[in-house]
């Protein structure tokens, strides 16, 4: 047995290329699989660590009257509650570089949603503040931020000071993404947050209460959600009581002071809203984004494992073939089947095992690290992710690796082992030549050059090899196409949405439902700025078809023509606006509930009132979901509606004024926002920018895919050419003896590889198209439908890149070809 062991070790040494091919394909498959699978748990753990450290809230309570400053005690009486924190906040306009921007100013929390100091120190005196590190640079320390004169009186009176010195920069767990929320001030978006001491607020009550439970389940888990849902009622009750107490106190106060308190009069009944973590934009979008990776991680690794198995099968088959005589000798000497096959088991098993170990650890370390780096552009709360080494995953990967390697080895040598030693020792019959189907086309076949005929025959002769290379190369091309395609789709979404579908400059949401005269007055007030308007009424509904249901926005045109603001079309054909009793759906909703033109769907309102409508059309829309109905259909639903309008500003000069606020004039936007009827204005350009930044992290994912595709192509081709050359040593040596120059020799060998590469690449385009649309359907975050179109350039680029990878491998293999000794041709047939 010692000799057999020695022979095995020497075998590995003498066929490093083959051994390494098995090692690398297993390492790649396992690394990719384990790496991608570990990403979500790893990122969730990273987030959990951060949220735990900062003591992130479980419930956020708001009421129409706020909460008294002593409310915390009532909560803490409950044994399930660990901590309560009240905060005051106010949105203010502040001058930055001469422009008014909106900040949200909070009171510094003590024990929930703790701030993380990035630079400087926490505020110690009244006139000091710490600021959003994402918006301010470090050199802001020592600067003074003054609240603008343009602020409402009520805002100004909410603070004891209107000027604060910046003493530090911080990050807050309430804002882990770049989204800082919206406001009714300024241009409608909050640019940054500020924290000042609680004493700086004049209010004697808290606007929000944050509550943390004692019981802590893993974040984003079902257990967490259930626990939160279970206790929500209890929290609401305590909150309700506290709000009622506050009303009582207010009434008592106003009676005592004989002053009519507006707050108390308006709200004899307290209404309390209990929000959970899911309502926090950063927390929710982080979960959404980490799910994207989880979805992708299923598809790619399966594919890599398939290729790995194929590489192992071809490699081991070749090895056993080569060693036919040796196997015969071992058997003739009386070694058992098991002993002989153990050599091949060991050979492939160790390659697979070491590949699995190295791949697993590299993958679980490298892939989360790379993707986290990409994530940091959107979620910058940790330097590096928490790495997770999951032993169960490791065992699964190793088991699969063992099956792919040792299993195939065992399978491959079965045939040889069951033969009698004598018959193995006899040289095998030369392999039969075969004609390929093309030879039946006499006319075509005769036109093909002689050497090309040889390549064609070789290419189609070996089924296993043909399959491996076509599969491997098509996988490479498919991965590349998917990678490039993801970029196309993402870019396509914003360009298409804002270039061809939503044509309006801004969307105005009014604070109340607007009657005809009010609309007219609004237009008259802004006649200088607004060129064109269409008024809409909107409400939220559930669209239902059979058992499938989706919540969405229902819109009807009240006044004006939609045409110039929203282009309704599908497959390059215009879609007509629905008549009474009809509805048109955007693609996202149509796909979501599986509705087709002609179906009857049910609209469900907030009080479960229902209206049936017929789908008269489906229109393309990528960002956000809409349904359009006629005004009368809208009225049938008897839902409370709000008014909105799409507007076009006067072109060029006027629109430029919005972006360029240096003109000194009041911008159109602030002009609009000053209007009392206007609640919110969303600029299309701003919105487009926002969507685009959230896609930025995808670029690195694309790069990762491209690199993997390259490695895959390299391993498959290297292995294949290696086997091909090994099998044809005699043939190649004979060609050399016949006087083929080395360039002719490599052309003879590589031409079939070229042919198969091209076939593989073309198959890959088809395969890639499917993979791409699958991936896009998986990564689509809720309200965004991706455009599944892939640009022509991407098709060309994927094929070109595949060919370049193949060319590189050939370049590397050229040397091997040169090294073949002509005396091989004199040896007997093995």
């Amino acid at each position: 047995m010692r000799e057999l062991a020695k022979s095995t070790i020497r075998e590995i040494k003498s066929s490093k290329g083959r051994y390494l091919a098995i090692f690398f394909i297993i390492a790649l498959g396992v690394g990719f699989f384990a790496g991608l699978c570990t990403c979500r748990p790893s990122f969730v753990k990273t987030a959990e660590k951060y949220f735990d450290q900062q003591n992130f809230y479980d419930y956020c309570l708001r009421s129409n009257v706020g909460f008294g400053k002593d409310s915390a005690e009532a909560f803490l009486e409950n044994k399930e509650i660990a901590a309560v924190q009240g905060v005051c906040y106010e949105d203010v306009l502040a001058a930055v570089d001469g422009n008014d921007v909106v900040f949200r100013v909070y009171s510094v929390p003590e024990n929930i949603n703790e701030l993380r100091l990035v630079s400087g120190r926490m505020p110690a005196a009244d006139g000091e503040c710490v600021v959003d590190e994402a918006y301010f640079k470090e050199d802001v320390l020592g600067d003074t931020i003054s609240f603008s004169d343009a602020n409402r009186e009520s805002t100004k009176s909410a603070f004891r000071h209107l000027e604060y010195t910046v003493v530090g920069t911080v990050s807050s767990p309430l804002y882990i993404s770049s989204d800082r929320g919206t406001t009714s001030l300024g241009d409608g978006t909050i640019k940054a947050f500020l924290f000042v001491k609680e004493e700086c607020f004049t209010a004697d009550y808290y606007k929000e209460l944050y509550v943390v439970l004692k019981e802590r389940e893993e974040i984003y888990s079902e257990a967490y959600r259930e626990n939160i849902l279970e206790k929500k009622q209890m929290i609401t009750e305590i909150g309700q009581k506290q709000a009622e107490t506050r009303i009582k106190n207010l009434l008592m106060q106003s009676q005592k002071n004989n002053v009519s308190s507006l707050a108390a009069e308006q709200s004899n009944t307290a209404s309390v809203y209990v929000l959970t973590r899911d309502e926090n934009a950063g927390y929710a979008s982080f979960e959404q984004d980490s799910k994207i990776i989880e979805n992708i991680s299923v598809v790619f690794p399966v594919f890599f494992f398939l290729v790995a198995a194929l590489v192992c099968v071809t490699t081991m088959t070749r090895m056993v073939d080569e060693q036919r005589t040796q196997i015969g000798v071992w058997k003739a000497m009386g070694y058992s089947k098991l002993a002989v096959s153990s050599k091949y088991l060991f050979y492939s098993g160790t390659a697979g095992l070491t590949g699995s170990i190295i791949g697993f650890f590299t993958g679980t370390f490298l892939i989360p690290m790379i993707l986290w780096y990409a994530y940091r552009s959107a979620y910058d709360f940790a330097e590096r992710p928490e790495y997770i080494f999951d032993w169960k995953m490791f065992l699964i990967c190793t088991a699969i690796a063992a099956f792919c390697t040792a299993g195939t080895a065992l399978f491959c040598c079965q045939k040889e082992l069951s033969e009698m030693p004598a018959s193995i020792l006899r040289p095998r019959m030369p392999q039969n030549g075969k004609r390929v189907f093309m030879e039946k086309l006499k006319g075509l076949w005769q036109r093909i050059g002689f050497l090309h005929k040889v390549s064609l025959r070789n290419a189609f002769r070996y089924k296993k090899r043909f399959f491996l290379i076509v599969f491997g190369i098509s996988g490479c091309t498919a991965l590349l196409l998917t990678g490039f395609g993801i970029r196309d789709s993402v870019q396509g979404v914003t360009d298409y949405q804002y270039g061809e579908i939503t044509l309006y400059d801004a969307e105005v949401t009014f604070v109340k439902s607007m009657e005809k005269e009010e609309r007219q007055e609004f237009l008259e007030r802004h006649a200088d700025n607004i060129r064109e308007t269409v008024f809409l009424s909107e409400c939220s509904v559930d669209a239902k078809l059979g058992k499938r249901k989706k919540s969405t926005k229902l819109v009807s045109v009240v006044d004006g023509e939609l045409e110039n603001f929203f282009h309704l079309r599908h497959n390059n054909e215009d879609v007509a606006y629905p008549k009474d009793g009809e509805i048109i759906l955007c693609t996202g909703i149509a796909d979501g509930i599986g509705a087709k033109v002609g179906d009857t769907i049910v609209l469900v309102g907030s009080l479960f009132q229902e209206v049936s409508v017929t789908v008269s059309g489906i229109f393309d829309n990528y960002i956000g979901n809409y349904l359009f109905v006629s005004e009368r259909t809208m009225a049938q639903l008897e839902e409370e509606v709000s008014s909105a309008a799409y507007i076009h500003f006067y072109k060029d000069s006027d629109f430029e004024r919005i972006k360029n606020k240096d003109s000194g004039e009041e911008s159109l936007l602030t002009e609009l926002l000053k209007d009392e009827t206007v609640g919110h204005v969303a600029l299309s350009t701003e919105y487009k920018k926002k969507v685009e930044t959230s896609f930025a992290s995808l670029d690195l994912v694309v790069l990762l895919i491209i690199v993997c595709a390259g490695i895959l192509a390299f391993i498959v081709l290297f292995n294949l050419i290696n086997i091909n050359i090994g099998e044809r040593l005699r043939e190649i040596a004979t060609l050399k003896v016949l006087g083929f120059f080395s360039s002719e020799c490599s052309a003879y060998v590589f031409r079939e590889v070229d042919l198969l590469t091209v076939i593989g690449a073309l198959c890959g385009l088809v395969f890639g198209k499917f993979l791409h649309s699958f991936v896009m359907s998986q990564v689509s975050p809720g309200n965004i439908c991706f455009d599944e179109r892939i640009a022509w350039g991407s098709y060309i680029a994927s094929v070109a890149a595949t060919l370049v990878f193949a060319w590189l491998v050939k370049l590397a293999m050229q040397r091997r070809l040169k090294e073949i000794n002509m005396t091989e041709s004199l040896k007997s047939v093995e």
Binding site: Q431, V454, T734, V737, F740, L826
Partner: protein
């Protein structure tokens, strides 16, 4: 023993080996495969190089066939000095001047008999018609068959056709009957002998079978890496009359 080697600048001989030596380095060990080998062969002769395995006959074949370089000495073929050739020149030399017949035929399994001949002439400027060559070796009926469908003798005939179609100056045969049975082997040797007589082709046959010496015009015996003797047969025997 008649030493035909004359030395000097004029080389009337077709093939000339002049003090040729070959040393292989295997790791630290140097193996001398050929020592001071000198002989010559005239145009149109059948020359048999005979010796036991490991005697150095294959080394002579490799050097003469342009498949290996030598460590010492000089080699001429038809007035050209091969010993100074670089790799590219050697390839061209194999391509245009040498026809090779292997012990194990070395046909490309994926090509038919006819196509195997075509493979060789593809790269030659001046060559014979492949179909005609196949006809001449007696395989006209089997031209479309793949090697696996041919017997050993038939495969070797294809190999000979392939070598001859190139119109080489020299036909080198490495144990051409080594893998064949007695009768088939004889038929192959007859084909070689007839070809030589008919077309005046110079043929060098390397073998361990000394029975073949009788059919040769010239016999070179090698042993332990040296040329033991070079003899000429005044009356070579037709192959049919040789027995072993």
């Amino acid at each position: 023993m008649i030493d035909k080697y004359t030395g000097g600048m004029t080389m009337p001989e077709f093939i000339a080996f002049e003090h040729v030596g070959k040393t292989y380095k295997v790791g630290e060990v140097e193996i001398q495969a050929l020592k001071d080998a000198s002989f010559s062969v005239e145009k149109g002769e059948i020359c048999v190089i005979v010796g036991a395995s490991g005697a150095g006959k294959t080394t002579i074949l490799n050097i003469l066939g342009g498949m290996d370089t030598m460590s010492a000495g000089k080699v001429w073929l038809d007035g050209q000095e091969i010993s100074g050739y670089d790799e590219k020149q050697l390839t061209a030399y194999r391509r245009y001047e040498i026809g090779f017949v292997f012990q194990f035929y070395n046909l490309v399994p994926n090509l038919t008999a006819l196509e195997n001949v075509e493979l060789a002439v593809q790269i030659c400027k001046d060559h014979l018609e492949p179909a005609q060559m196949i006809q001449e070796v007696g395989l006209g009926e089997r031209a479309g068959n793949f090697p696996a469908q041919l017997s050993g003798g038939e495969q070797q005939r294809v190999a000979i056709a392939r070598a001859l179609a190139k119109k080489p100056k020299l036909l080198l045969c490495d144990e051409p009957t080594g893998a064949l049975d007695y009768n088939t082997g004889k038929a192959i040797l007859k084909l070689l002998q007839d070809t030589c007589r008919k077309s005046g082709m110079t043929i060098v046959i390397v073998t361990h079978n000394s029975a073949l010496c009788d059919m040769a015009d010239r016999v070179i015996r090698v042993k332990s890496g040296t040329v033991q003797s070079v003899t000429t047969n005044q009356k070579p025997v037709p192959v049919e009359q040789i027995e072993w």
